[in-house]
Subunit: 353 residues, 2 copies
């Protein structure tokens, strides 16, 4: 391990936020890079994935994954390079992905390695940042959420919110590949144009567009859905929650499927969550709303990665990452871009070359 | 048709209500009983089914069924007796069921007969009022909602709201018959005791019970769920909507199924519907919420009726109707019993012996 004599800069959770995270919620720390010991591996972090779900991990209480503890290095998925290995499972120089954490180095002792989720990635299938996007958790979420939960059939209309985001971009492109009409909802003209012109969605509704005089913004979204989904909505892949969820519920078809993947519009709400007021549309339309967590599909990731890598290779799928340089110290401010909708594509924090 | 020289008293929709229906929403009319003509049939109404769904039929706007028009005889399912028939399909004296309307006689001309839904019922399988309950729409709703949408497995916990009502009583008893733990939610100690002692539910939570000092009523329901569903909730059959729906969402298990059958607590809300604030529990638990409309299962009613009649006969299922005497003129006041929760069992209006 003599080649490593560096300092590991880290970002830890200092306090649980109420509403949007602020500087007071984070603590910067540094410690010497530690030797993982016999059977362990040392990874240098190259890039970290910034995800809406991170906001949930900062909260106390039962969820689909344990909360990050106060004082703990903030959880984050990422790609890295093995800089030292004391196990035959990895070799120095291997590109890897896993839950590396918001830090510059991850030292994984032997006993933690089997359940660490650390795994080699194949740079021939995609660039490191694509392994955080289409070939990573967002791509897996899109693939299994759309196909297993949404179950779209060719000719149906699939609507996805957060269409220019990490999950949304892949959902819409997969819907097109499977012969569906794909309609996105995104914030801002630039994102909507990109979604249609570059990704090939059939249409994209700008929820931030100025509504005509006398029309509420959400009524404008509803009008947009009416215009762009003339046959109604068969599958809605929801990344944002209320109130857009309510606008879509008003336009669903009989036996529609709503995939509940996230509710980013509400993650920082301090007055409590709002529920979808139009949920009785599920009754009228004999429709269903179903939640999904990507980890449940872990044993099928390889199959999904192979299929998605094929689409990337043959050009049927594009992948856009919004890579912010600045290292781990830029983590707190970069995370906020997700909640203001400033990111354009999958938000990635560059840590090392 | 010379045997009939009666007056037909009717209740018509006079105006669409806002909130609870009042006298101003109804108009009483009378007209001579009319001859249905060649190929038609004349039915005397014996008993009418009063259902929460009626409130929805009074509203304008698209739903799973067309609204009742202003001036039209109020829609109602019922049982009756054929008093005159000019078709070989029916004979005078036949007991029948169908959408008879809130009136004393229903005269069905030949051209309306095929799609009228009028059908003979077998008095050996159940009494006329049971044909409005376990063997009628509530029973069909319970049967297909629970089995087709809820898909309970033996050993699972099934919770049903409106447990002493028409649909709820059958849901819980079917759950028991299929080897599930059945937990009801109902309003008042008498209903809860009946549900447990007479129907054999494992437990019933009284949502009207006085909560301990310092505890919100809905928190008390949540505590009741915690106590009586120690293994969590696998299937929730929802007849009442928010806020009880939120209390149950907080206790569901992984892969739970929520059957959306109704939302009686909200049908008269003038401030708009409330959505379930805890709907993200669907994501955390990979659970689903699905709406159902009983009419979709019409071709399987005979199978369900045969099974349910068998349970009535062998004593494994009980059926309770709350029969109000008073004829069609008592319809407006009797309907309100549903929304105050005063009815105890399936609410039936007696029209003729």
């Amino acid at each position: 391990m003599s080649t490593v004599a560096a300092i590991n800069h880290q970002v830890r959770l200092a306090a649980r936020p109420s509403g949007l995270p602020t500087d007071a919620n984070w603590q910067f720390s540094e410690e010497p890079v530690t030797d993982p010991g016999a059977g362990g591996v040392l990874v240098q972090v190259l890039a970290l994935s910034l995800d809406p779900a991170m906001r949930g991990w900062m909260n106390e209480g039962k969820s689909y994954i344990r909360p990050v503890e106060i004082g703990e290095v903030m959880r984050a998925g990422g790609v890295g390079r093995v800089v030292a290995s004391r196990t035959s499972a990895f070799a120095a120089g291997d590109l890897v992905a896993g839950t590396l954490g918001v830090q510059e180095y991850w030292s994984v002792p032997a006993e933690q390695l089997p359940k660490s989720g650390l795994h080699k990635i194949d740079p021939r299938l995609g660039q490191p940042t694509q392994w955080l996007n289409v070939l990573g958790m967002p791509g897996m979420t899109a693939y299994f959420g759309l196909f297993d939960v949404g179950q779209p059939k060719a000719g149906e209309t699939v609507v996805v919110s957060g269409a220019a985001g990490a999950v949304g971009q892949t959902v819409g492109q997969l819907a097109r590949i499977k012969g569906c009409r794909a309609v996105g909802i995104a914030g801002g003209q630039a994102k909507c144009e990109w979604v249609v012109k570059e990704l090939g969605f059939d249409a994209c509704i700008d929820y931030k567009a100025t509504a005509p005089a006398g029309v509420e913004r959400w009524d404008a979204v509803r009008e947009g859905l009416k215009q762009h989904c003339p046959g109604g909505v068969d599958v809605y892949f929801d990344n944002v929650g209320v109130p857009i969820l309510d606008a879509v519920l008003a336009r669903i078809n009989r036996k529609a499927r709503i995939v509940i993947c996230g509710a980013i519009a509400q993650y920082n709400a301090t007055g409590g969550m709002q529920g979808p007021r139009n949920y009785m549309s599920l009754l009228v339309n004999r429709a269903r709303m179903e939640g999904m967590v990507v980890f449940d599909y872990a044993d099928r990731y390889p199959q999904a990665i192979a299929e998605l890598a094929g689409y990337l290779k043959d050009g049927r799928m594009k992948s856009k990452e919004d890579v912010v340089r600045g290292g781990v110290k830029a983590f707190p401010s970069t995370l906020l871009k997700l909640f203001s909708g400033e990111n354009f594509g999958k938000l990635v924090l560059h840590v090392a070359d």
